[in-house]
Amino acid sequence: MNKLWTSIFLTAAAVLLLLFFSNDFGLIDIQETAIVVAIGIDTAEEGEGYDVTAQIAVPSSTGSGSAGNVTVKNAQTVGEAISELNHETGWYPTLVHCKLILLGEAVTETDVFRVLDYFLRNDAVEDSCLVAACAGTARETLQAQSPVNDISASAIAKVLSSEAQETGLVSVTILKDFAIGYYSVGKSGFLPYISVQGEAESQGGGGAAPTAEIDAAEECAWLPSLKRNRWWKPKRQPLPIAAPVSSESGSQGGADSGASGKSGSADVFQASETMLFYEGKQVALLSPEETLAYNLAATDTDFAYGSVTAEQDGQETVYNLKMKIGKKKRSLTFENGMPVFTFTVRANARLADTDRASAILEVAKTQIADDAILRAAEKKFEQELSSAISKAAAAGCDLFGIKQRLYRYRYREYAAFQDSVLTAAQVHYDIRFTSLK
């Protein structure tokens, strides 16, 4: 091959490689794509199947994003609902940016992987997206209006952020981890349980309920940029918010906004409770205190606040402690042929606040918590941990990975104890709180 051909080949190879890697021919027309940021799944209100709500981000020329919700009703599967979304709205739904899957309470009463397996089968959704259960329906939760964020999915994602996990207030789960738990020997998992709590009315609040259906034409008012866009063909490809209420196929599409009301009530999302699952079904609910104890003992939480009551100078006083976990360990051993599960926790605590006025010297020495407070904290921690493990064991949920430890580290005993280890294991607590002296 002469030099000319070599040069031609090299140039052609370079250009073609560029095209090969750059996805140059696969550009997405943003005007025709529904960017789904959250999916809510409920059991059908009427009939069988599921009501699937997609929260769709709407880009705005002002830079402040907003979102609209589209609900496809009575879909037999989540996949069918996503397809239907395309039929109903004319927009092609892209799930790449879906960061939240919200399960309505009723869905959690049956095996949730009846609906979640769609996201495992479909690589269009990253398995790093958050999964949560919610009180009531996912549709209503996604319609709630956060006072700090226009898009409710973003507000929920903030509540479930890794920072929140590190402070122990919520137990965050992503789809991958939840699926691993489900398919593991323990067949268990947990999801943060989100509830919407109505807060103070914002200024000029008109009292519009968060779940109110809003007229489609009225909603278009918050989409000036899209209305102005001449490339958008409203008849052929209607906006999701203009989706018809019903269709001939029998499925129904509802449309509402998660962000349309700039006035009215603002809602706060709480996720301090944790729903426990066994074989995909909800089996128990951990209280906020139990959730904190679980996080301190078993998850990435290293830093948290908690309150304890201790007696000082003959008076019951509430102390708010700032805790830093130095060491946490769970181990499964066998004593006299029976399983023993041991929690080892070492934490440093300092006073953050009390419920009584203190002398200035006491305020100055806030880094020091005296022994009575530390022992009270240890006792409280042990109580909450004990309560969490009992609740989980009674429900068959391998929340603390006892069965998994049995399988991994004590495989010989696995066959004998696989069905009983959760209830048969004796639990030891080796919890020590220290403070600066």
């Binding site: 052609a12 095209l19 696969g26 790093s128 691993i180 580290y409």
Partner: protein, 355 residues
């Protein structure tokens, strides 16, 4: 055209050999060997490492090409036939990696499902490499080494904090039969010894060349084992669904939430090295055809690449069947050509009748 240096062989084993095992191989291995995938992979690495050592011993003792050795032992016609048979083997062994890589590119790098033609440019690159011969493999190895080291290290470091290595326990959670089956059914990913056999006589055996090549092979194998351990640590019981493993392991780093998937930069870098590695069996096939028919590489290179493109299109919707065929049915062919025949090459006459 057909010369390669020992240094480049070493770089090949360190950088290009592991990338072929970073896509479908980990999930396939998990399917057979479950959490004992490392044992299966270790068996393969050990067996192939032994064959690599034997081939290097042959290189030390003879310094001749395989064709010359065959010619000495069986005559010219037989040597051409053997090369023709190996050409078929290399062609077959190129097909599954091509399909793997095509799926990887189309699934990971494209937002929507693109046309299969998006993968076609690869065949121009492969054609060019086939025409250029072994020298291009050496150059590709030179380029691949720094790219691979940086990209692989970053991806592993990003994935490491999310890996739970206890998921690999209990040891022997899978039965010995499952572990062995995992090894045998992944034979199609272990064809490097056959490649080395055809490099015989095309590199100058220098002092301690065997040690260098075997050490390089060990480093490449260690990289594969490390990747498998991290992969299973990250995905545990759902590892089996993770096709395109290299694109999956590093995506859970939380800092990406604000920056986006920065790891894609390194995945692209690995994909580039994969392209180089994909060309190698096709290049071997063309080399064998040239020797068999005594022709220049242009025509065989064109024919091989057109055929591979046609088969890639033909099997576009049959990857699973093709994978099952190659892994579960034809594993013995890979074992024969990549393990048994290279080892048997030691029995060939090292001196010709006239020497």
């Amino acid at each position: 055209m057909e010369r390669i240096k020992v240094r480049q062989l070493c770089f090949y084993f360190v950088a290009m050999m592991p990338v072929a095992k970073l896509l479908v191989y980990p999930a396939t291995l998990t399917y057979q060997s479950k959490n004992d995938l490392l044992l299966s992979a270790f068996v393969n690495c050990l067996a192939e490492g032994a064959i690599v050592a034997l081939v290097m011993l042959l290189a030390k003792k003879s310094g001749k090409s395989l064709f010359a050795l065959l010619e000495n032992t069986f005559g010219n016609i037989t040597a051409k036939i053997v090369y023709g048979v190996f050409a078929l083997f290399f062609f077959a062994s190129a097909l599954l990696p091509f399909m793997e890589h095509k799926n990887f590119v189309l699934q990971v790098m494209y937002e929507n499902v693109p046309s299969i033609i998006s993968f076609a440019p690869f065949f121009f690159v492969c054609f060019f490499a086939c025409v250029k011969g072994f020298k291009s493999i050496g150059r590709m190895a030179d380029i691949s080494l720094p790219i691979f080291i940086v990209a692989f290290a970053v991806l592993i470091l990003l994935a490491f904090p999310h890996a739970d290595f206890a998921a690999l326990l209990p040891l022997q959670g899978a039965s010995a039969g499952e572990v062995l089956r995992g090894s045998l059914f992944s034979a199609n990913w272990y064809t490097e010894a056959a490649f080395l056999l055809f490099f015989l006589g095309h590199f100058e055996y220098e002092k301690r060349a065997s040690v260098k090549v075997i050490a390089s092979y060990a480093i490449g194998s260690a990289a594969v084992l490390l990747f498998l351990a991290v992969f299973y640590g990250v995905f545990s019981d759902i590892a089996i669904r993770q096709q395109n493993a290299v694109a999956q392991i590093s995506k859970y780093t939380t800092s990406f939430t604000s920056l986006g998937r920065v790891d894609y930069l390194f995945i692209f870098a690995i994909a580039l090295v994969m392209i180089f590695r994909l060309c190698v069996p096709a290049q071997m096939c063309v080399h064998c055809l040239c020797k068999s028919f005594g022709c220049k590489p242009m025509l065989p290179a064109a024919a091989v690449n057109i055929l591979l493109l046609a088969l890639t299109v033909f099997f576009n919707y049959s990857f699973l069947e093709l994978q099952t065929l190659f892994t579960q049915r034809l594993w013995f062919l890979f074992a024969l050509f990549a393990y048994a025949l290279p080892a048997a090459a030691l029995l060939l006459k090292r001196r010709g009748a006239h020497e």
